[in-house]
């Protein structure tokens, strides 16, 4: 190491990315560049990091990153087949037809979503985290073939254990027309800061929705998440 240049903890895994992001101090940068010249492995890591960053940016722009950042388990194959049979037998139009409510039906608990007195079955849990770099869609969620309570949890920036929030869900094209959205309030965040709620899948249509989360106890601006609900893929 040249005299006058401070040593760096080279096992710090953040260095290469911080160097490329111009987040190192002047001294750290000098030390890191000296290492980069002296050790080919350091240069190779910088190059690999640069490629990774560009690859991530491209993936984000192509909309291929957002689906990887949403939790959700694929339904076991036998359930998928059962769902397909249900569609054949009943016809999807019976429950997603002309009597589809104008606004989604959301509820703070599973027990509050029922079909003829029978609680709806819950879907896998979907976690919403805002993908700020993507800018377009924060989550893609396939609509199930059969009627379910979609179980969502969202992590607002202001979410802390016990914080209170209201959540509104609006279909984007209808929001532009001034259509009402569905809102529930007084949701309490869990210990990790997540806010959970359920949506009746029969009240959703494929398309883009906006989820707005407000925090009751702070002056922070409402946070919005964009969710693309899509028709379920046909894979078994």
């Amino acid at each position: 190491m040249p005299p006058g240049i401070p040593d760096l903890p080279m096992d710090d895994p953040t260095l290469a990315n911080r160097y490329l992001a111009d987040q190192l101090t002047e001294e750290e940068r000098s030390a890191y560049e000296a290492r980069m010249l002296a050790e080919p492995a350091v240069l190779r890591e910088v190059e690999a990091t640069a490629r990774f960053k560009v690859g991530l940016a491209l993936a984000g722009e192509q909309g291929r990153l957002a689906p990887l950042l949403v939790a959700g388990q694929r339904r076991p194959p036998y359930l998928a087949w059962a769902a397909m049979l249900a569609v054949l037998a009943i016809g999807i139009g019976i429950w997603r037809g002309a009597d589809t409510p104008a606004a989604p039906w959301i509820a703070p608990s599973l027990g509050q979503l029922a079909n003829g007195g029978t609680p709806l079955p819950a879907s896998a849990q979907f976690t919403l985290l805002r993908v700020r770099s993507d800018g377009q869609i924060d989550a893609q969620i396939p609509l199930p073939a059969r009627r379910e309570a979609l179980w969502l949890r969202v992590l607002p920036d202001s979410g802390t254990a016990g914080s209170r929030h209201s959540v509104a869900l609006t279909r984007v094209e209808e929001a532009a027309d001034g259509q009402p959205s569905s809102t529930i309030s007084d949701l309490i965040a869990n210990d990790a800061g997540y806010v959970e709620f359920f949506i009746d899948s029969a009240t959703l249509r494929p398309g883009l929705y906006q989820l707005t989360v407000e925090t009751a106890t702070t002056a922070q601006e409402a946070e919005t998440f964009r969710i693309q609900f899509s028709a379920e893929d046909s894979q078994p």
Binding site: N17, R44, R51, L56, A57, L58, Q62
Partner: protein
């Protein structure tokens, strides 16, 4: 000797002077510099791609890289680079310094107040020809293999959004030890990614020995 990269570079941009002799004559060893430039483009495409994305202007990025190659080459010729193997590191260093200076000068202009994040977030810039068409697939595979979801979010926000570790640990409920562990795992996959794309560290050295 093929000179594709140099031919594509504008001679009118702010960094265009790098290929020319300061006295106005032809560059003293254009083929040597061209070879260095070609090797930088083929062995270190990450630098070029990053410059294009940061500048949102492939021509300007090409000029800047040319300037960096020229400066590094002159250093080498003047005997200021002890080990010719270090020249790629010098090119990297000079290129990022030029980029930093460029962004500062843009930021200082009252009519162009976009911050660096905004510049990065702009989309639609064409990519350099050197981009590996399989890069996105490989990157997605790395992200997909990370479990649980929180680790994937961490990697994306750290490398793409460039959020700092303190913020990420606080927001994702992680300790710094957990953060470091996830990053180490991702870095191991990154090294594999680079090796799968091929990087022959000796190439630059061999060329410099031949022409130096």
């Amino acid at each position: 000797m093929p000179n594709q990269v140099v031919q594509s570079v504008s001679s009118s941009g702010p960094y265009a002077g790098g290929l020319h002799d300061p006295a106005g004559g032809a560059a003293s060893r254009p083929s040597d510099q061209s070879e260095l430039h070609r090797l930088m483009a083929s062995e270190y495409p990450g630098l070029q791609m990053l410059l294009v994305r940061r500048l949102r202007d492939p021509e300007l990025a090409g000029d800047l890289l040319n300037e960096a190659v020229c400066v590094a080459w002159e250093k080498n010729r003047a005997g200021q680079i002890a080990n010719p193997q270090q020249i790629a590191g010098y090119v990297y260093q000079v290129a990022l310094n030029l980029l930093r200076n460029h962004r500062r000068s843009v930021g200082d202009r009252a009519d162009r107040r976009a911050d660096s994040r905004t510049l990065d977030d702009l989309t639609g810039a064409p990519e350099p020809e050197t981009i590996d068409p399989g890069l996105v697939q490989k990157v997605l595979r790395i992200v997909r293999d990370l479990q649980p979801l929180r680790d994937r979010v961490l990697i994306v926000r750290f490398y793409l959004d460039e959020d700092d570790s303190e913020t990420l640990c606080a927001e994702l409920g992680m300790t710094s030890a957990q953060f470091t562990k996830v990053l180490h795992r991702a870095r191991r996959r990154l090294r594999e990614l680079l090796e799968s794309q091929g990087i022959r560290g000796g190439d630059l050295f061999s060329v410099l020995l031949c022409v130096g």
